[in-house]
Structure formats: structure tokens, C-alpha cells
């Protein structure tokens, strides 16, 4: 257990609020929680790669750094105009 791993363990705590906020509210708030979790997990990957002294794990962080914002943007596109709530759910046709 070196400093990097310890930092990773500490930073994992940030995911708890993400989880908490992910459990509540309309989709856009949950999306904000996931959008926060993205950079956090990126950082975690970085720290892990350093702490385990495997530089190749850094690729994960790179992938996630590219993927997470893109995914978030696509989510916002898809959720836009989505009448949220179950009231507008299925049942018609």
C-alpha cells in the first residue's frame, strides 16, 4: 500500500455521493452524478496505474477520459425532450 493507492482509496469516497445522488431525482440529476463519477474514476485509474506500477493501466484512464464526456453528451441528447416521470410511460398505442 503506497501513497497512490491510499489516495485512490480516499478518492473512492467521492463515489459515494455519486451513488447517493444517482439514486434520487429525475434523470438529469442522475446524469450529473454519473458525469461526476466519470472524472473520479478516471483519476482512480490513474492512481491505480501508478500505485500498481503498471503504466499500461493508464490506457484505461485515457479511454475513459474520452468516453465519459462523449457518453454524457449523447445522454443529454437522448434525454432532451424526454418527458420524464412515469406518467408519460407506456400504455398508449
Amino acid at each position: 500500500m503506497n501513497a497512490w493507492l491510499a489516495a485512490a482509496a480516499v478518492d473512492t469516497a467521492v463515489l459515494a455521493p455519486c451513488l447517493w445522488r444517482c439514486a434520487l431525482g429525475p434523470p438529469e440529476e442522475r446524469l450529473a452524478a454519473v458525469a461526476l463519477a466519470g472524472p473520479v474514476v478516471t483519476v482512480l485509474f490513474l492512481l491505480l496505474s501508478q500505485g500498481l506500477s503498471r503504466p499500461s493501466y493508464g490506457d484505461l484512464a485515457l479511454v475513459l477520459a474520452v468516453l465519459a464526456p462523449a457518453g454524457t453528451l449523447v445522454f443529454t441528447r437522448l434525454l432532451a425532450g424526454e418527458p420524464h416521470g412515469d406518467a408519460a410511460d407506456e400504455g398508449t398505442g
Binding site: 408519460a88 400504455g91 398508449t92 398505442g93
Partner: protein
Amino acid sequence: MPLLGAALLAVAGRWLPRTARDALAGCCALAQVLCLVALWVRTGDGVSVSWLGGWRPVGGSSVGIVLAADRIGVLLALVAAVLVLAVVGYSWRYFEEPAGRKGGVYPALLLLFSAGMCGFALTGDLFDAFVFFELMGAVAYALTGFRIEDPRPLHGALAFGIVNSLAAYCSLLGIGLLYARTGELGLAQLGRALDGRPPDALVRCAFVLVLAGPLVKAAAAPFHFWLPDAHAVAPSPVCMLLSGVMVELGVYGAARIHRTVFAGPGGVPADAVRPVLLALGVVTALVGAVMCWQQRHLKRLLAFSTVGHIGLFLVSFALLTPAGVAGAAVYLAGHAGCKAALFGLCGVLLDRFGSVDEHGLFGRGRELPFTAALFALGGLALAGLPPFGTGLGKALAEDAAGEWAWWLPALYVLVSAVTGGAVLRACARVFGGRGRHPAEHPDEPETTGEGEEPEVRDPTRPLPLPVLAVPALLLAACLAIGLCPPLARQLAAAAARFTDRAGYLDAVLHEAAALPALVPPPAGWTAPGLLLGLLSTALACALAAAALRGPLPAPPGPAPAPRAPPPPLRPAGRLRHLAPGRPGRPARGDHRTGLNRRPRGTAGRGAEDRPRERGAGGAATYRMRTARPAGSGFGTRRADAPSVRGGEERQQAGVDRVRALQGEAVARAREDLGLRVRDQGGDPAQHPAGRSSALRAPIRARTGTVIPRSSSSPKGGAAGRAAGFQVRMPSISGASISGGAASAGLASRRARAGRRRRGASMPNRPATM
């Protein structure tokens, strides 16, 4: 090989013409069959082992992936390949090919399916078995949804997917546990590794988990529910595959895994396994038989009979003796042939009449004597008539089971008699018009065969040859299995090999060339077997006769009094081009019940597609004019142009049917009006499809069709276009009122289908007839 063909087809399917695609698929399937036959010969009495990539075992341990074939496995693969070949031939002229872009998808899927099945049958590696299992499953979902015939139980197909996937994940968990325990993945290696340890709870847990997958796939008792729904949905040729071999592969997988991995001293003791599997099999068989007897939807009937037979296979296997396995193998091969043939014949009925409802088709099959003969033969074979392979297999299995418990042969006789009897009953009704006409009982929540979307809606076209030839050939194969004693003997030897666990381990791990000779169980006709087969057949005939004479339709239900003189025909979507003439029959009350809740595709297509060719505006036009606000151009235009072009011969051909139907159309239209008034008055409780559709019913009634959902604002171009599009489908009559299922997409898709067909096959003639 099939994988190669599938890839080739998927890529090349866009450009190749249809014939070439089918020929290519046929060649691939044929090549696969030939390969497997060669493998069968080469395997001989042993086990052929092939290590992929040349990772041969060193001193009995290996990390490579192994394919190990003994004859039971090859048999299964062979059956799968033959059925795929048959299905490719059957689908040759059966399906309308979907539009160009999706060209070769269907044969490609078929070949992929066969690859999955063969791989599952031949693999010697547990994880590979999982992968092939999932491949098989995924392709099966895709095929099931490929051309949905009966949209109502579609969620059954979805349940099929979800339940099977879940079971597969359970298997995977079990595999993970086994791996954790032993560090091996090959079946043989696992078995050997388990032999060295005392049995413990983890292994038992893994056993249950691993076997969950194949057993669910095999539709064993608590999980049988997905099968009939999926089979009712799937296109008939796909049903041939699903019912003929995929379900049986589940049994095979369970048997293989148990025999190889868990049968040793470190596994699960046989005394614990046997009662459980026996109970499962017995319950499955009984459930299948009883449910089979109650069905009137022919495909569901056949599907439940498959469930019943699966129960029988499970019982035979659960005996854990070579004789039982031999019986199951022969039975299975015979059953695959005759069940596939029966499904193929169902496809013929669907093709001709657009329905597979036993009652609705009453007597209509008289014009198809050859089909009738085949259907009856299939029913007899299902009941276990001696010369057929099913009879032989049943006799062998009964023989083996009789040694264990006296009542098991009785179970065999009962189940096969009931399922065969149900088929014979249906056959007599549909093709012979025997017995009293079944009464319609509209309030009964029963799945009928009405409302199917016929795959081929052009009955004037001559019946394509392969559609009849393939079932005939399959039945002949079934007969051949029974008539060819060497085959059965070989299978018996194979069964002995199958149960010889040590030999399998040796062959796989140490490449033992010569395996010890085994004493095969007897395989041949014996007097008791013959007698029992005859007995069950006689019982089946008696049951069918009793069902025809006695109160209908099924023993458990309350015998319904005939409520109204039932119509001679259930018009499955081809009455709408009749003139709005002659008020004839009294209004029928039963199309409120959800039997007809969907819009019928035929007339809608015709209306949309070739307005001037149609016989007349028909009932729906009549309805349209009265129901909609005046001045909505389509209905009136339609009524003004009732000229017929090129329909003479068709009318000659169908004149009596037309007469019978004319009045009904009008009656139906009137009924719709009355119904609509009631709907607007709003009595949601009476509405069969529940609250939501009742609320929407007035809207639908005004436009004569479904309009976009009220909540999502039918504004603008898209929705308006959709509505206009729909209005030109006058036939969405009572159907759309009484149901919640109509949708513009559906109707228009049919419209497109019709257009395609017309362009393809019958340039001159209305397809709706």
C-alpha cells in the same frame, strides 16, 4: 463450415439473387450434413477428439479447447444439420424474402443457428458449451422475432430470451464455481479433477447452477412456459428447428454434463440425481400432455406435445442406464423428424388459410388430401405407431424404464397417446371436418390460432413443392429410423459409449486409441414394445375419436353449449373485398372478444396498394362512410371505384367461399357500428383489452383506425401522414375497435409486404382472396 457460409451469406446476400442465396445456404447445409456423416463413420464406436489449434494434452492436462464427439453427440449434430437442410429447403418458396437490404439474413441466421447447435453438441469444453449455448440462444431469439406471425404472445418470445439468458448466466456462475474448485474447464478434465476429491457443497451448488441452463433450454417443468409462446410466435420453419432439435439439445447438454463431470465419485451421487430428474421429467411430460390436449392453436398444440416428449426424454435419461439413453436417442431422432414434419404442415395450413386455429379451420382442409395424409401420419408417428422411429425409441425407452418402475411405461403410453391423439383430433377436424363442429365460446380467454399473420397471403398460387416434399421426407426419415435396425443398434452402442464415463475421459485426456468394448443394450423391436406402441396408437385414435364425438373441446373445460350456429369459415382476412351486398347472417358476437382484435393485413394492403383492382370497397368502406365525418375523401373514392381487374378466375375458384362470407362482412360492419356506440358510451369494464384501449376507442372509431396516442400530440407532418396513410386501409374494422394492438406501423408494414409480393409473384391478380 456453416459459420463460413453464414458470413458469406450475410455479406453477399445483398447482391445475390434469391435463388443463388438459397442455393448457397443449401450447399452449406448439405456440406455440413456430409461432414457430419463422415464424422459419424469415423467416430465409429469410439470418441473422436480434436484439439483446436493443436494444443494437445501433455500427460493428461491441457489448456487447449477440445471438440470431442461420440456418436450421441454426432447424432444430435446430425439431426440438427439435417433439419437445417430441410428448413432451408422448406423456406425456399415459403417465405417472402424481405426487401433487398436485409437479403441473406435469414439463411445466414439459419446457418449460424446450425453452427451453434453443432458446436454445442460436439464440444468437450464446458465454457465452450456455454458460448455455443448463448450463440444458439441469441440466434434463436433473432429467428423467433424474424417474422412474427402471431404478435400476441410476442412477450412469450421475450420471456424465452430473458429466461434463457438468465439460465445461461446461472450456468456460467456454476462454471465459475467449478473452475474455482478445480481449475479446469474441459468436461473430461473437470470430471477427472472432481474424482480426486470428496464431494462437497460447492460442487453440488455448481451442479445445480450448471444444469439450470440446459434444463431451462429443454423446457423442463417449471420453466416450460416460454416454449409454447415462443413457438407460436416463430415462423413455422423456425419452429421446426426449435422444436425439433434445439430443445432436445438442452436435454443432451444436461445429460452430457452430468455424465462426464458429475457422475464420478467426486460429483453428485446418482441416487440423488435420479429421483430429481425423474420427477422433473414426469411432471414435464404430464404438463405437456395435458396442456397439449387443451390447445386449439395448432402450433401451440405441437409445442406442448414437444414439452411432453421432452419430459419423456428426461425420464429416459434420468434412468442413467445405457438402455435408457439408447431409447432416448432413438426416440429423439424419430421425434425430431415427425415433429418437424408436423410443424411444416402447420406452415402449409398457415399458408393456405391464414390460420392455424383448429376450430376455425374446421373442415377447410378437405381440399388438401396429401397434406391431410401427411398430417395424420405425423400424428400416428407421434403416438408411437410401431414402424416409425418414434415407436422404436418409445419401445426401447419403455423397456428400460420398466425395469426401474412399473408405472413408467404407462406414463410413456399415456403421454404419447394423448399428444398423438390431440394431433389426430386436430387432423380429423381440420382436414376431415369430422365430428360435431366445435362451438365458439367467445368469452373464453383462450389463445386461438386466429389473427395470425399469414406468411404467404396468396392462396391462389400453387403450393410450392418443397413445402410438401420436405415434411414427407422428414416423415420418411422418421420411418427409416424405425425400419433400419442397424441404425438403432449403432445408436445403442453409442449410448453404451455415452454412459461409459471412464472411456470418454481416457479418450479425451490420453487419446486412448482403443477403448474397451462395451456391451450395447438391446435395440430392436420386441413383442412388448410392438404391443405397447400399438396400444398407444390405438389409445390415441380412441382419444381422438372420443374428442370428436364427445362434448367439445376439451375434457377439463366446461362443455360449452353451442351458442350460435358457428360460421362455416373463419375468414382470416380475405373477406373484405366483397361487395356490401346481401345482409345475410345474423351478427356474430364473438369478434368483440379479442379473437380478431388486430387489423387484418390483407385487405388493408390491397386497399392501399391497388385500389382499382379490388373487388369493391367492401364492408370496411361501408363502415368508413358511415363512421367517419363526411368528406373524408378516401372511403368514398374507394366505394366509387369497385371495378375488378383480372379477378375472374379467382372469383370462379372461390365462389362458394365468397357466398358464405358476403353476409358476414355486412354483419360485421353493423356490429362494429353498434359496438362503437357502446364504446363511446364508455363501458370500460366490458372492454376486453382493458382500460386504456377503451379510452382510446372513441378516437379510433372516428377515424376508423388507430390514431397516434393522444398524449403525444398528433400534430404536424408525421402524425398527419400516418393518419392519412391509415385511413386508406378500410379493413381495420371491428378488429381495431376491439383491440389495443393495432398500430399504424403494423398496417403499413403489411402494406409494404403486399406490395412486394405483388411485384414479385403475381403481377396480375389480387393477392387477397
